[in-house]
């Protein structure tokens, strides 16, 4: 069957009728078909008329106080600072955990300043800028040696005869990891849900 014959027998697809009815440009083949097809011309004209009638339906409006009545029932989230304070007030255990963590950080900083008054933040920054990674590594070794020589080493040596600064550093790191893990377990037992968990639970539509 030739293209011309196919054009003569096949009618315009619904999408083409809509496009042409709403002012879209007809392709050359579509234009030729419309010129010779009463049915498709009626379809286009009918759709234009229907759309015109639907478009002039009267605009509908709710009552003048509609927005007021909606806003009286709406509960928006509280602004973030107020929300954070409200969360802490509502969950004293979370507030206690947060306060304990902050106190530990402060005690650690004060202990450092008292124990090593010469090592100010400025001095550390200057040294690191000057000698960088080498100094940092020497500091780690010195910390391990200090722990070893502080008496903890002799205490531990009662349990392990071959304790060295290296094993002391490894032990400190292990203790730190255990402390972090314990804090997580403690928070879980105290039923404090991390924020990211609460958000992922709300995956529903409207």
């Amino acid at each position: 069957m030739s293209d011309t014959t196919r054009e003569a027998t096949a009618h315009l697809a619904d999408e083409a009728v809509e496009r042409i009815a709403f002012g879209g440009k007809a392709a050359p083949a579509e234009g030729r078909h419309l010129a010779g097809c009463d049915r498709c011309r009626d379809e286009v004209a009918g759709l234009r008329g229907l759309h015109a009638r639907l478009a002039v339906l009267p605009p509908l409006a709710p009552s003048a106080d509609f927005a007021d009545r909606v806003m009286a029932r709406v509960r928006l989230p509280e602004p973030r600072p107020a929300r954070a304070l409200a969360t802490l007030r509502a969950n004293p255990r979370a507030a206690l955990a947060a306060a304990a963590s902050a106190l530990l950080a402060v005690v650690g900083a004060v202990t450092w300043i008292v124990a090593y008054p010469a090592i100010t933040p400025g001095a550390v920054a200057a040294l690191l800028a000057d000698r960088g990674a080498a100094l940092a590594w020497q500091g780690v070794l010195a910390a391990g040696r200090a722990v070893y020589e502080s008496g903890i080493g002799s205490l531990l040596s009662a349990f392990r005869a071959d304790l060295t600064p290296w094993t002391a550093i490894a032990g400190l790191l292990t203790l730190a990891l255990v402390a972090i893990g314990s804090m997580g377990v403690m928070l879980r037992l105290m039923e404090v849900t991390p924020p990211f968990r609460a958000r992922s639970a709300r995956m529903t539509d409207g």
């Binding site: 002039v56 509908l60 927005a67 107020a82």
Partner: protein, 200 residues
């Protein structure tokens, strides 16, 4: 801050931070189209106002569920469609004319169930003719299946794209096209006498 110039998504972002003026701007922006589509689904003005209120309240009270990847208006209309269809399926609502529900026996009840036009600036004769034409259109629309009715109102009255209508009604794009084409066919058949009476 001029809320009228902000986009829907910017207003939603402000609403999530507790900004009530942003929420009010969204209500003002969408109250008419939401009320319009709900009214044309339930055909009762008081009920449409109640349902339209519920639509906005549910929208704002569950803003955490809105996905900014989609248009806010699509999500809002989706809530409106779901709420209205749920209500229609719980009740067997009668078809009413634009002049009020058939069971409206008092003037107050007739007023409450009739259309509220936004403007009456036309001459009286034109208003009467427009109201009669609108009445026939509304009656024809009311006789459509609820999904055909929703689809054709969203397309021809609210001007939504086919893809957006598919999102709102949660059906495939092809199904939306089928609904609209069949709805058009039914409306044209029911309204063909209007073209005959008016000579075209």
């Amino acid at each position: 801050m001029d809320y009228g110039e902000k986009s829907d998504k910017e207003l939603v972002r402000l609403c999530r931070r507790g900004d009530e003026r942003a929420a009010r701007e969204l209500v003002t922006r969408f109250e008419r189209p939401v009320f319009s589509i709900v009214w044309r689904m339930v055909r009762d003005r008081e009920l449409a106002e109640d349902l339209a209120q519920d639509v906005f309240v549910r929208t704002f009270n569950h803003l955490d569920r809105y996905d900014p990847a989609f248009k806010f208006s699509s999500w809002l209309f989706k809530i409106a469609y779901n709420l209205t269809v749920d209500h229609l399926r719980r009740r067997d609502l009668p078809t009413v004319s634009v002049h009020g529900a058939p069971d409206a026996v008092t003037a107050e009840r007739q007023e409450a169930t009739s259309l509220a036009l936004e403007s009456d600036e036309e001459p009286p004769d034109a208003r009467i003719e427009a109201k009669e034409l609108a009445g026939e259109m509304e009656a024809a629309i009311a006789e459509l299946r609820e999904d055909y009715r929703t689809a054709i109102l969203l397309r021809h009255v609210e001007g939504r794209a086919y893809e957006e209508i598919a999102e709102i009604m949660d059906v495939p794009l092809g199904t939306v096209k089928t609904y609209i084409f069949r709805a058009r066919r039914e409306l044209r058949d029911r309204l063909s006498h209007l073209a005959d009476d008016r000579g075209g």
